[in-house]
Symmetry: C2
Subunit: 305 residues, 2 copies
Amino acid sequence: MSFQLKILGSNSATPAFGRYPTSQLLTVGSHYFLIDCGEGCQMQLSRYRVRTSRISQIFISHLHGDHYFGLIGLLNTFGLMGRKNGLTLYGPPKLSDVLTAHFRASQTVLGFPIHFVELYATEPNTILENAQLSVTAFPVQHRIDCWGFLFREKPKPRRINKETIPADLSVEDIIALKNSQNVVNTDGTIRYQNEKYTLPPRKSRSYAYCADTRYFELLAEWVSEVDLLYHETTFMDQERELAEQRYHSTTLQAATIAKRAKVDILLIGHFSSRYRDLSPLLEEAKTVFSNTLLATEGQDFTIPE
Amino acid sequence: MSFQLKILGSNSATPAFGRYPTSQLLTVGSHYFLIDCGEGCQMQLSRYRVRTSRISQIFISHLHGDHYFGLIGLLNTFGLMGRKNGLTLYGPPKLSDVLTAHFRASQTVLGFPIHFVELYATEPNTILENAQLSVTAFPVQHRIDCWGFLFREKPKPRRINKETIPADLSVEDIIALKNSQNVVNTDGTIRYQNEKYTLPPRKSRSYAYCADTRYFELLAEWVSEVDLLYHETTFMDQERELAEQRYHSTTLQAATIAKRAKVDILLIGHFSSRYRDLSPLLEEAKTVFSNTLLATEGQDFTIPE
């Protein structure tokens, strides 16, 4: 099953240098999760030929415009394209006021239902759970209420070892083995010892999106050991004071969170429009956490099984 | 003084084929007028290197999303760029509800004043008048309240004829001649007959933007003899019935308005996303009105003095 992140927009505050405001698409198998939706998101989805009808869940971290001004246009386009499938929208409570004002003004009745889930928790809490994965929202520290999102695959079954598998296994036996059980005889004795015939489960992959936040150490615990961590780096380290004032982070702060959290890969984004060239931000972050990449438009990041 | 229209977006309903939703910029000398503001308008303004600080008047024809979803992003960016100059916004009354919902949700206080002028008239009426030009809003026929805008330069003074101008003219004499008066002696007799020393005024240039509308004949009277007429052509003529149902126009209907109104140039736009190639729309319109042009992204249309 694929587990892939596509960057649709990487800039902070306003569009600049061909960079769009924040938006990302996480695909886990056939599930398409849109994370934030800055202006022009629908153009970016179209540019990268995303099958937008598959987007069933949208997560809005907070109500600064660079994270949600593209939402009304996307929903409107879904309606015009004849969408019927429901959509679940996670966001701050006032998001529904804004959408309602738009729909009233244009006398729009969407042809599909929106299930709106308000974000409010002050501690990490699970907001979505299905057979494949769970999504946890965690509060970050920004000027207004803001949440990050942790996507984590559910624990997976053990895998049958094709080299040692006996010929007489029934379907029930296979299910038992995958669920870490032994296959037993009618008298209760062990016929097939689980570990002999199975391999450990594949790892449960994880992605954490930290939205807009100033540096705070607790965050590293919440995103501990994820495969892929997106952390904003609005500024270079020399703008540390400005970052603190504006509740944003620097390259070194993002890299410090990645290092403390022992993640595999750090993606940095939400770049200030003062930076045309992003390579200094990347180089600076790498001085603390070497496995850092730029989250720029059109980039795909795949976590293998 | 320049009188130039730049097309920022030409598509209807949704973005498609690299075409943006409707937005246009009219510059008359140092006055920058933004007409409609579909999603991505600010990216287009940036792409075409428009000095956005000069935009002092924004006209929103109606509250279908493809005509105003870019407005909140543009206003937000003005604020982030430190704009202090006031802005006048003309639009349907509910537009202010939508903007207020956004500003409340993000706790945004713009650093510049917005003067909001509600459109409501059911007959053409002047909504703006300054030393150079007047702007008239006229109601068109769409599914929801919708207005077109007619920009017309004020009548200009007569021009001094350099070949016949006497050497002894005072500043007052020149002003009198420009204002179509004769220069008279103290006894009231004519010293310089106006027509001998002046040339006719330059023509007062005009541009009419017809927004989204179904075909109605009265419109041709309201935009009579303008230099440049923009009329939507969402559909080819074979979709005449669909156009009527959706309160839109076809190529032949737009061209018929242009012909009846005896305009100089017809611009067609607001193309349905069903048309990747626009040349058939142009060719069809030309069968009725030959001086027709496509209003596509980045095109400039200049009306000479």
